[in-house]
């Protein structure tokens, strides 16, 4: 298949359409505005619906409405806008609605800036909205990987009946890369496969099959049962959906952990240092929820590993999961920047060498 040079945001939007998304609700915010712009032109071509909402709050509730019919629905935003969506995301999780939410992260807190950041890791994987829920959360590190994940994201959302979150950063959305775009998937709502959806129940039909899209369970007993059902999905996702990449970790004495585009900077450093004979590797979680705790632990607990360096563009958010995985078994240090400054190869190199030399 031929490679095409595409901008990240447009490639992700096209992949969503090819994966069967026919409804997009969103609101302009930098650095992801090219996604709604692309959708506004492309959706009518495939008989889909693009609607510019009055706010991110409304957009996620439109997602709730459309996803409740069993359709494949997507919304995108960037950090401050994703904060506004948190109420609706919690409702989607509570109502077990499959959908896809894109967060093209920018610097925060508050308005922050419009450059790439990784500051919403906590928001994405540790909650965000109210209640005990999780989102199946992917952190792609290239445009191609974002496309590939998008092609199965709706299947996963439907399998586990939970929203999927893309934790991408501004660089993924803004850069252009050569990509291979998969063929269009033929998706149609199948009411048999989605008995929970609002697909045309009428009086006289089985009352148990009436579509009721809902997150309220007013008495303690029924809310307990409902939460147990949610937890069952999360358990299954934890068991089946963890994804990660190990890069040159087999004999590594120093293991670097990083996610998203930062991992690519780390890879450049690793390649340089390997030429010089320094044994260093990268562990990159692709799902940040569920976090691949066991795989990371197994990777870094090998006897030759002297220490772990976590690199992020935030104050050390994934660092907490890295430490949870390692349980104090190896020393973990952190290097990162705030304010959307990406660490340079020289900076990362210096930090790796410090660990290698036991400093």
């Amino acid at each position: 298949m031929a490679l095409t040079l595409m901008k990240g945001s447009e490639a992700i939007a096209e992949a969503a359409i090819r994966a069967g998304a026919r409804f997009f609700f969103g609101y302009p915010i930098t650095p992801q505005t090219e996604i709604p712009e692309y959708m506004s032109a492309r959706m009518p071509e495939v008989g889909g619906c693009f609607l510019q909402a009055e706010s991110e709050v409304a957009a996620i509730n439109m997602v709730y409405g459309a996803a409740g019919t069993g359709a494949r629905v997507i919304t995108s935003s960037s950090s401050p806008g994703v904060s506004l969506k948190q109420e609706g995301i919690s409702y989607c999780a509570g109502a077990q609605l499959p959908c896809v939410i894109l967060n093209v992260m920018r610097g925060g807190p508050g308005l922050g800036n419009i450059q790439a950041s990784q500051g919403d890791y906590f928001q994405g994987v540790k909650g965000g909205g109210n209640g005990d829920y999780h989102l199946l959360t992917y952190a792609p590190s290239s445009v191609q990987e974002a496309i590939d994940i998008m092609m199965f994201a709706f299947d996963k959302a439907e399998k586990y009946r939970m929203p999927v979150l893309f934790l991408a950063d501004g660089i993924i959305a803004q850069m252009m890369e050569p990509v291979e775009m998969p063929e269009m998937v033929d998706f149609k709502v199948d009411p048999e496969k989605k008995p929970w959806a609002c697909t045309g129940w009428k009086p006289g039909d089985d009352p148990a099959k009436r579509g009721v899209i809902n997150s309220i369970y007013i008495d303690t007993e029924s809310l307990t049962v409902h939460n147990a059902e949610l937890q069952k999905s999360y358990k299954a996702a934890r068991e089946n959906e963890q994804m990660w990449e190990c890069y040159k970790t087999d004999d590594a004495e120093v293991v670097v952990t990083a996610f998203g585009t930062v991992a690519r900077v780390v890879k450049s450093v690793i390649d340089e240092l390997r030429e010089e004979g320094v044994k260093v590797g990268l562990f990159r979680p692709i799902t940040v929820w569920p976090f691949p705790y066991d795989a990371l632990r197994e990777t870094v607990m090998k006897p030759q590993v002297k220490g772990v360096l976590d690199v992020e563009v935030n104050e050390g958010q994934m660092l907490e999961d890295v430490k949870l995985a390692i349980e104090g078994g190896k020393p973990v240090s952190f290097f990162g920047h705030l304010g959307s400054q990406f660490p340079t190869t020289d900076e990362i190199r210096g930090e790796i060498l410090k660990i290698k030399e036991g400093k």
């Binding site: 619906c49 709730y64 459309a66 629905v73 609002c198």
Partner: protein, 252 residues
């Protein structure tokens, strides 16, 4: 023997949780009967109905309306209805919202649903108070009216005069039909039903956004018995919130 009356199939057999004297029961029935009639008249296919319940006293409306239903976040019903209607354009979609839900936390969603000319119907039940949380001041609470958060009576200088939703929305270009009704006597109940059914027919004919405001009592939180409450509504609410058609593009 011919059947002269039967309960509409568009309501489930679930017992209402509403307080004695509350008007929700009447309004629920008018909505359900109107939909049922449209089905009987062959104007609407059974199964092509989706309703959206709000947060407030009618939060459990999904248990009462016998069709596909959503329970929305507080104030967001018009956005949820928008998503549902866009996904299944051939269906009849309605929201059922109170005045705390629609006139306070949900103003952005209702104004923009009207602004887009969204082909949905909103049933807006205005009882000038927050019922479910126990009688707090709403944007619709009358000046001087005592509530648990306006214990000295609503002070206009401090928190403004009550908002007139129907008049406000009638100024939005995308709004197609807006009428304020009440269910305080038989004549008005029949008028309310006529208005609701007309709004549904407009939607089925692809017209724009319709809202029927229904003034309602809240005997529990007003501290009145049901008969006194109805009189209070007639003496205080109707003069401030005049009944009638505020906008009807179909009649122009």
């Amino acid at each position: 023997m011919s059947v002269v009356f039967e309960k509409t199939k568009l309501l489930t057999d679930k017992q209402f949780h509403y307080c004695p004297g509350c008007n929700h029961g009447i309004i629920h029935r008018l909505v359900a009967e109107s939909i049922d009639e449209l089905i009987q008249e062959g104007k609407l296919e059974a199964g092509n109905v989706m309703g959206v319940a709000p947060v407030g006293c009618s939060v459990f409306a999904y248990d009462y309306f016998n069709c596909d239903m959503y329970e929305a976040a507080h104030g967001r019903a018009p956005a949820v209805a928008t998503g549902a209607k866009r996904a299944r354009p051939g269906t009849l979609v309605f929201t059922y919202q109170g005045d705390g839900d629609l006139a306070s936390i949900g103003t952005a969603e209702i104004v923009h649903a009207a602004h887009r000319g969204e082909k949905i119907v909103t049933i807006f039940v205005n009882n000038a108070i927050y019922g479910m949380t126990g009688g707090q001041m709403a944007p619709t609470t009358l000046v001087g009216q005592k509530t648990t958060t306006s214990p000295y009576g609503r002070d206009e200088a401090w928190c403004g005069a009550p908002i007139k939703v129907s008049e406000m929305l009638s100024e939005v270009p995308g709004a197609y039909y807006i009428e304020r009704c009440a269910v305080n006597n038989n004549a008005n109940i029949l008028k309310t039903k006529k208005a609701i059914k007309k709004a549904f027919e407009y939607q089925l004919n692809g017209k724009g956004f319709c809202l029927i405001e229904v003034l309602s009592t809240c005997p529990t939180n007003w501290g009145l018995n049901p008969i006194e409450a109805m009189k209070w509504l007639e003496d205080n609410m109707i003069p401030y919130y005049p009944l009638g058609v505020k906008k009807d593009k179909g009649a122009e």
